[in-house]
């Protein structure tokens, strides 16, 4: 074992110091130009993210793809039971460079439905099926919306925070 000479970071290190990186600013401008009106920058730090109305998702996806963001890394969702919504996360990038951003859309937790973007990025097909499987979010106009990883008759949607796994009880944390 070698001696650790690296100083420990301060207890509450500042996260993502807001240094205006010119490349990040240019990227944000490019995405906002592509998305047009109605997209708001999300305040959460980390991945640059833009929120659009759920009804506009296909239009926003098409605009991004046409602006050169031809790579959809994945589609997933984040459960926010305190706000009564699911947040859909579409992480997009480009095969030409390493930039990425996230497109966000909120759907209500009691009636989660949104249009499918599989006509824009073919890869969304399976990712949306997985999101349907794990969260129970319905993707309208999806070519084949079936569970993909779990059994057809599996009870519930495991990645919802209120899902109770009676068999393994893996999630110890109350939400």
């Amino acid at each position: 074992m070698t001696d650790d000479k690296t100083p420990a970071p301060p207890a509450d290190a500042p996260v993502a110091a807001p240094t205006p990186d010119p490349a990040a600013v240019a990227f944000a401008a490019e995405v906002e130009r592509a998305l047009g009106e109605g997209a708001t920058r999300d305040a959460l730090s980390g991945v640059p993210s833009w929120r659009v109305e759920a009804a506009r998702i296909v239009d926003a996806a098409r605009r991004l793809r046409d602006a050169g963001f031809d790579y959809l890394l994945f589609v997933t969702a984040v459960d926010r039971p305190a706000d009564g919504r699911f947040e859909l996360v579409y992480v997009f990038g480009s095969f030409a460079d390493g930039r990425h951003g996230a497109l966000l859309a909120d759907v209500p937790r009691d009636a989660p439905e949104i249009d499918s973007v599989s006509a824009v990025w073919a890869g969304a097909d399976w990712h949306e099926r997985e999101t349907f499987d794990m969260f129970g979010i319905v993707f309208r106009n999806h070519p084949f919306l079936r569970r993909i990883l779990l059994d057809e008759d599996w009870p519930g949607h495991p990645l919802r925070k209120d899902y109770v796994d009676t068999l393994h009880d893996v999630v110890k944390r109350p939400y």
């Binding site: 890394l73 459960d79 944390r173």
Partner: protein
């Protein structure tokens, strides 16, 4: 036929002969699927009309498990995704955590990470090469591939005690410094393995039967590859010059000089060629990183509890099969609020139904083998 799309579920009849289309299950237990994957084939004679992969046989709920453990504890589960890219998966997860917490990784650890990642790529391709031969009916490559892979595994075993599930690269650096003979062992392996690649090419690539079995089989167009989000050797064989090590460099990759092999054929043969070339490049990367490896600490000093700050973070790493990405959302506590693994195999396999159409059953084996999918990574 609940599991199939309507177009794949209805059987037609050949008016001339009166023969009906029929369905065959390939898997879930089938040697060529390299794991537990079920393919439902719709066949007319021996020609594949449609194909539906049925996934989830080894779904373990890794993402759900991650919500119940700390970010350091989760590292060991990343080994168990694509178990042939264990070091790269560890690295990807560590990058996400390091970015979220603003951790600086010591220079020596950066070099060890690159060496380990590229050795993993080589060992993964060795296994793929051997198994590809076996899938197509040649047993010798399997023995050669595993013979050489042992040497890489020995290096891993000496360093971190494990041969498959490493859990070695972790947030802040690596578990422990490499042992004394590490540089000597790695150099000896590089010198040993370099001529072996030529031998591989002569043995399998030079074989006429192999060429006939792979040329023009399973052509993936660059447009489809992009639209489906295919990455790694699968996409590069289709002319998509995309490699995370180049487009979004991480670690010390920007300081190293290497080529990204790209082919334009898009068929099984091109995918074979890309991986063979990648092994050569990886050897060169390993040597460069070894030459430049400084002395010093291998771990950053971390607080006892790593609280993930509020925010969403994404790390992207080039694993042996393509881009693996870890999405981490923190809520200020030690456990992730949500984490998501973007599996390269999941997106690569999505190309299979399209590119398999019109080929024979035996060609499915060649296509599946050159797509080089690892099922636990798909099912997570």
């Amino acid at each position: 036929m609940e599991l199939l799309k309507a177009t794949d579920a209805t059987a037609g009849t050949d008016p001339a002969s009166g023969y009906e289309d029929y369905f065959v299950n390939m898997g879930p237990q089938h040697p060529s699927t390299h794991g537990v994957l079920r393919l439902v084939l719709k066949l007319a004679g021996e020609t594949v009309l449609g194909l539906t992969p049925i996934l989830g046989y080894v779904h373990r709920g890794v993402e759900k498990m991650g919500e119940a453990m700390s970010v350091v504890q989760f590292t060991h589960l990343t080994d168990r995704l694509d178990y042939l890219s264990a070091h790269m998966n560890n690295w990807g997860w560590s990058l996400a955590v390091e970015e979220a917490l603003g951790i600086e990784v010591p220079e020596r650890a950066q070099h060890i990470r690159v060496i380990m990642a590229e050795l993993t790529r080589i060992s993964s391709h060795q296994l793929w090469w051997g198994v590809l031969g076996m899938d197509l009916g040649a047993f010798t490559p399997f023995l050669y591939g595993f013979r050489d892979r042992e040497r890489v595994n020995d290096i891993f075993e000496k360093t971190c005690g494990a041969r498959l599930t490493m859990n070695y690269i972790r947030p802040g650096g690596v578990t422990a410094d490499v042992e004394e003979d590490f540089a000597k062992d790695v150099r000896a392996f590089c010198d040993y393995f370099e001529p072996c690649i030529d031998e591989y090419e002569r043995l399998l690539g030079g074989n006429v039967i192999f060429q006939v079995r792979t040329r023009g089989i399973g052509v993936l167009s660059p447009e489809l590859a992009r639209s489906l989000g295919c990455t790694g050797p699968t996409a590069r064989a289709s002319g998509v010059a995309y490699d995370v090590r180049r487009t979004r460099p991480y670690g010390i990759y920007p300081k190293l000089s290497f080529r990204i092999p790209v082919m334009t054929g898009g068929d099984s043969w091109a995918r074979y060629q890309v991986r063979i070339d990648e092994m050569r490049e990886s050897l060169s990367i390993v040597r460069q990183a070894l030459d430049a490896m400084p002395e010093g600490p291998v771990r950053a000093k971390l607080p006892a509890v790593l609280n993930v700050p509020k925010g969403r973070w994404l790390s992207r790493v080039e694993a042996a099969r393509g881009e693996i990405a870890f999405f981490l959302e923190g809520d200020g506590t030690a456990k992730p609020w949500r984490l998501k693994v973007r599996s390269p195999n999941f997106s690569n396999l999505a190309a299979l139904p399209e590119i398999a159409k019109g080929h024979r059953v035996a060609d499915i084996v060649a296509i599946l083998s050159t797509l080089d999918v690892v099922i636990p990574c798909i099912d997570r």
